[in-house]
């Protein structure tokens, strides 16, 4: 990794933190739980890392210890992503569906 890449990554990291602070400053209490759940599902983005490391060359049919760890990570991340968005959707439907007589 080159120094410039690292500094670029740190820049993105810091700016995204500020962005997160600004994005949700005022949220009605109704949405606190769905917001937490939705944000949690987004943090399942680590699925990308799990995918990349799950894709390794087999050595005589054995993916190796590292790939098994990544595979386990992939299962957990997918549960987090799929379950997270589904559960958020359920909560929001419950709230939105009952408003405005829809």
């Amino acid at each position: 990794m080159e120094l410039i890449t690292l500094i670029g990554a740190i820049t993105v990291f810091i700016l995204a933190i500020f962005l997160g602070f600004e994005l949700i400053t005022k949220v009605p209490p109704t949405l606190h739980t769905p917001l937490m759940s939705g944000a949690n599902a987004i943090s399942g983005i680590t699925i990308v890392g799990a995918l990349i490391f799950s894709n390794t060359d087999y050595n005589n049919g054995d993916p190796g210890f590292a790939a098994w760890l990544a595979f386990f990570a992939l299962i957990l991340a997918t549960i987090n992503v799929v379950g997270g968005f589904a559960v958020t959707n359920r909560m929001l439907n419950m709230i939105a569906g009952k408003r405005g007589g829809k």
Binding site: P28, L31, N40, I42, V48, A73
Partner: protein, 470 residues
């Protein structure tokens, strides 16, 4: 074609995440926001798979199996869970997210050590620091979330025996936690000095797991929403560190954004309880030494309450965790309908920390088709309490405890809903026992208070039928 072109896909995913999170904060756009988030995730996954090396000999078995197994489990859990179990579910998913980041970090470090493919110079410092931090935050999130989940449930059942989740934390435990954290930082430095030694990595994993448990152990059940929210923030940070490991901006953006958002939410909840985050985390409170209840109060029966409620002009319903446990929101709604049919004005007073999650009550009442406009926040409802004829408290305790105004005890300074200012206070509760904060409630013993002892659902059903008979 330059491989970097694929990064445009990640940019699209990042934009979708940002828009999604923003839209999640407004009631009307929230469903769209969630959809954007899911879409962003799909884009990220597709882009990742599309740019993979198809030449490897594995035929994507692990990837397809992992996605299928995880997807099926996740979807099943999300569809099956009941609304009361929502906080536990979020805590569990959160733990999984943290564990995934930690495992990705572990995978990378063990692969590099096994294949003797150790980085050098700056890359070594960056990769090993990110791996160490990702492991630290990830494992803390996992064990912390699991313990938080058990605390929300109140206990665990092992081989048919119920074990209550303990809350324990003497003052000196904070020093132990500090010591562990310093050791982990030390170990992190040592992994960089000796990158081929996997013992240090295993030590980091073990110590981080212990730290997560020690972190949540002293915190009482009432504070779990704050803890879950903070852990949610941590799992985002863990994902961001994983982004540094694989050099991927979408992980860094999504992860740190969620980290910041989780922190904001944590702060909102602490403010609602009028407490400092530091106090919540490092001063044990709630559930540890509870006051013994010695006073008694004669319970009322639903017929009496129905008679009192006949012909009143204003009623405020104050729900709490008990309503969530007994799932009596439909009966509460029915009760409100009857009152309204008789010309009574009914409103719901929602305490910001009622239940076990912010917005917990709103979700439950929405399920029972209670119009959104009738859910009034604490500050607004308090100005109306004096003109209220009957305050119906369903399964709430600490959030209406006047002891909070006294400035003493664990509840000191917490804003409450002024139920005691209403003409008559009806409290549906199983017993006189103390709430999570462990403080006896004077409101129960006041002359104008009528206690309906029993399960929320049963009591509300009886109350509704008594109202109909009038």
């Amino acid at each position: 074609m330059d491989e970097a072109v694929w990064d445009i896909g990640y940019l699209v995913a990042s934009i979708l995440f940002i828009l999604g999170l923003k839209k999640l904060g407004h009631p009307r756009t929230a469903p769209t926001g969630n959809l954007y988030g899911a879409l962003g995730m799909l884009v990220a996954v597709v882009v990742t798979i599309a740019q993979m090396d198809f030449g490897l000999t594995n035929n994507f078995t692990l990837i397809i199996a992992g996605l299928a197994i995880g997807g099926a489990i996740g979807y099943y859990m999300a569809v099956k869970v009941e609304m009361t179990g929502m906080p536990e579910m979020v805590a569990l998913f959160n733990g999984f997210g943290g564990a995934a980041s930690a495992l990705v970090a572990a995978s990378e470090v063990f692969r590099r050590i096994n294949e003797n493919d150790l980085p050098e110079g700056l890359e070594l410092h960056v990769a090993w620091t990110a791996i160490g931090l990702s492991a630290l935050v990830g494992w803390v999130t996992l064990t912390g979330s699991l313990l938080a989940m058990m605390k929300l449930k109140g206990g665990v059942e092992i081989f048919g025996t119920w074990y209550r989740t303990p809350t324990w934390g003497p003052e000196w435990l904070n020093y132990v936690k500090g010591l562990i954290l310093i050791s982990i930082v030390g170990l992190l430095y040592m992994t960089i000095e000796a990158p081929g030694n996997q013992d240090y990595v295993i030590a980091i994993i073990a110590l981080s797991s212990i730290l997560g448990i020690l972190f949540v152990l002293p915190i009482g059940g009432a504070d779990m929403p704050v803890v879950v929210s903070l852990l949610n923030s941590l799992s985002g940070i863990a994902a961001a560190f994983t982004g540094f490991i694989i050099g991927n901006n979408v992980l860094i953006i999504a992860g740190s954004m969620v980290g910041a958002a989780g922190l904001i939410l944590t702060n909102i909840m602490c403010k609602a309880m009028n407490r400092q985050l530091v106090d919540v985390l490092f001063k044990s409170f709630g559930g540890s030494d509870k006051e013994q209840v010695t006073r008694t109060k004669v319970g009322s029966d639903p017929e009496e309450v129905a008679m009192v409620c006949d012909g009143i002009s204003k009623c405020v319903i104050i729900p709490g965790y008990g309503m969530a446990v007994s799932q009596c929101q439909h009966q509460v709604r029915e009760f409100a309908d009857i009152l309204e049919a008789n010309g009574c004005e009914v409103k719901y007073g929602i305490h910001p920390v009622a239940g076990r999650m912010p917005g917990h009550m709103n979700v439950l009442l929405a399920e029972a088709s209670v119009p959104y406009e009738k859910l009034i926040e604490m500050d607004d409802i308090n100005s109306e309490m004096a003109e209220c004829d009957v305050a119906l408290v369903v399964g709430a305790n600490d959030t209406v405890n006047p002891a909070a105004r006294s400035g003493e005890g664990p509840l000191a300074g917490m804003p409450i809903i002024d139920a005691d200012k209403a003409g008559v206070v009806v409290i549906v509760k199983r017993s006189l026992s103390v709430g999570y904060a462990g403080v006896d409630n004077d409101l129960f013993y006041e002359d104008k208070t009528m206690m309906l002892f029993g399960d929320g659902k049963q009591m509300m059903t009886e109350l509704v039928s008594s109202m109909k008979e009038l």
